[in-house]
């Protein structure tokens, strides 16, 4: 069983089909690249996986559990009975969970963390605070913990900081620990976003154009880091336009064009695929 399975995934925005019956798997422990010309629907797929959008059709399974499905029609009969989720009957609650769509934070909790194509850091928070946000869902202290600070809360705070520092070091940002995120150079902001996602302890890390805007040296470092991440047991799914990166680190590649999957295979296979060549050349002609 694959770690992540997309089945016939479709997303329409009004009349526009951004993702069109896409099916592919992400296997545990691999680096999978998702490529395609601008507007092919790559980011939309990421937003579907992370629960920001609900699919129009199709399903997504993560580790065997269904994490996305169309909310179609469900709403009409679901709405009047929303209170069943609080019934103390297990099977009812499970049914309910099947009906409703998961929210992004629940999907993150299940083990999928992401970065954004346009960097979305908490700009006015420090690097440390940014990464600490990633640890949020792994800790529990709430209102009472914050006010009364019992021992468990203090241990938790210490854990949050140490965990955040670990990923800051991993991404080589320790010199910037107390710097505001927005004051970091661009390349470091990209790294910080990855650190933040890693702090969420994901099994699957999805990166949306991590090398965009990086210079040559930074790109090489990034490729190294991504390999290291994979070696530490985290599966990586990435979108990237930089073919050097894609061909360099991806074990498998899925190619999208106009929302449809047009090819899937090893970098060599994909590079030779006439449909892929045409999609990319076609884009240039325009």
């Amino acid at each position: 069983m694959a770690l992540l399975e997309l089945r016939d995934l479709t997303k329409q925005f009004g009349g526009l089909t951004a993702v069109d019956h896409v099916t592919f798997d992400v296997h545990e422990g691999e680096i999978l690249g998702l490529i395609g010309p601008n507007g092919a629907g790559k980011t939309t797929i990421f937003n579907l996986i992370t629960g920001i959008y609900a699919p129009t059709e199709g399903e997504i399974f993560f580790d065997g559990k269904r994490i996305a499905h169309p909310p179609l029609g469900a709403r009409k009969f679901i709405t009047p009975v929303w209170w069943v989720q609080w019934l103390p009957v297990r099977s009812v609650r499970e049914q309910w969970d099947q009906l409703r769509t998961l929210r992004p934070h629940e999907i993150t909790e299940m083990g999928i963390a992401r970065t954004f194509q346009t960097i979305r850091l908490f700009k006015n928070m420090t690097v440390l605070e940014n990464v600490m946000a990633g640890v949020h869902h792994r800790t529990r202290a709430g209102l009472w913990g914050a006010i009364f600070r019992p021992p468990f809360q203090r241990r938790e705070e210490a854990f949050i900081v140490s965990e955040a520092e670990r990923w800051i070091r991993f991404m080589g940002l320790e010199a910037y620990r107390d710097e505001l995120a927005k004051n970091l150079p661009y390349g470091h902001q990209r790294r910080l976003e990855i650190a933040r996602a890693l702090a969420a302890n994901p099994r699957l890390l999805i990166l949306d154009e991590p090398a965009a805007g990086l210079n040559e040296a930074e790109t090489l470092e990034l490729m190294d880091v991504i390999r290291q991440i994979r070696n530490s047991g985290i599966t990586v799914l990435l979108i990237e336009h930089d073919m050097k990166v894609v061909m360099g680190i991806c074990e498998r590649i899925v190619v999208l064009d106009y929302g449809k999957k047009i090819a899937e295979g090893t970098p060599e296979e994909v590079q030779r695929n006439p449909r892929v060549i045409q999609a990319y050349l076609g884009e240039e002609e325009v």
């Binding site: 507007g39 980011t43 929210r103 934070h105 954004f116 949020h136 933040r196 154009e209």
Partner: protein, 385 residues
Amino acid sequence: MKSLQARLGRIPPLWWQVGLLALAVLLPLPMSDYYRSVLWRTALYAILGLSLNIIVGYAGLFQLGHAAFYALGAYTSALLNLYLDVPLILTWPASVLVAAFFGYLISRPIIHLRGDYLCVVTIAFGEVVRLALVNNIFGITGGANGLSGIDRPVLFGLVLRTPLQHYYLVLFFLVLTLFAVRRLENSRLGRAWVCIREDETAAEAMGIDTVRAKLLAFVVGSAWAGLAGALYVARVPVVSPDLARFIESVVMFCIVVLGGTGSIPGVFVGTLGMVTLPELLRFLQTWRDAWMGVAMVVMMIARPEGLWPSRRVRMEIRGEEEEEAGFPTGVEEDPPDPSSDNSGEPDFSGEVYQLYDEETYLITLLEEGPRGLPSEGDPSGKDAV
């Protein structure tokens, strides 16, 4: 103001905490009862301001009906005392709970609305509460005249009567509030609130249950306003629907905004400006309100971040300007200047789509509700389950 802030910042915190507390305790002693009442009012509104600051300042939710919860707390205390003869201090927890309950009730269905919509709903709720009280709901609230004849609170056999005693009572709760709020600020929950204010989509994607965190802010803030209402009743044994007037909510909102959203010292500055000063200038009568208005407008133009802003909010509003003013960056080894780092600026044309994404996500949140069920033309999102 900035140099003052800087200078104050250098004094060890314990010193000025103890100093301020001592000042607050000793200040009313040489005063007449009138000024003691003014101090009482100031402390009470500081509590209200701090409670609203949790909602507006930390979680970034526009709440313009805060006075409704204040009134709910006051009426709860008064009703329990009048009809069930509950000693006043025992009604205080009930005031907190009732305000919290209503806070939950009204915020649950609207929590995912965007700022302006939320604002309208809270205003409406404030009016609903006021009108319910005026119309003598259930025949127990005494209509427009309100309720009177409420007992005085008794603490350890001592009946609290004088303005001084009441000032100390409120001061006690103010210190308690301050303690709690400062700890909240610097906690897992407090950080989650800041994340949400900074970028809600990213916060949600990092595993923060944004709906829950915002609800919590709303409920806690409302509950604490309920306590302030109860403290009001303790001193003024008459309650009337005027407590829930819209202008009261506006004053509370201005307290938070005037001093600097999200800033604790800012709440005090705001209280002095919105409550204490107008009280002391009572003799100017009609001119007072006009001046308040002018002052607000001037301030919003000249100093939008408030008089004593929290560092973060100042940066959010002033943005780059502030960096030139020289915040220590704290990094010795001279990182490349981000603003001149245009070489690394991405020029991927896909950016347009991404911006599109971000825009629509807000709308997604608004229309589809927290569970992501799509709406079919129902902007209220009330069936978002």
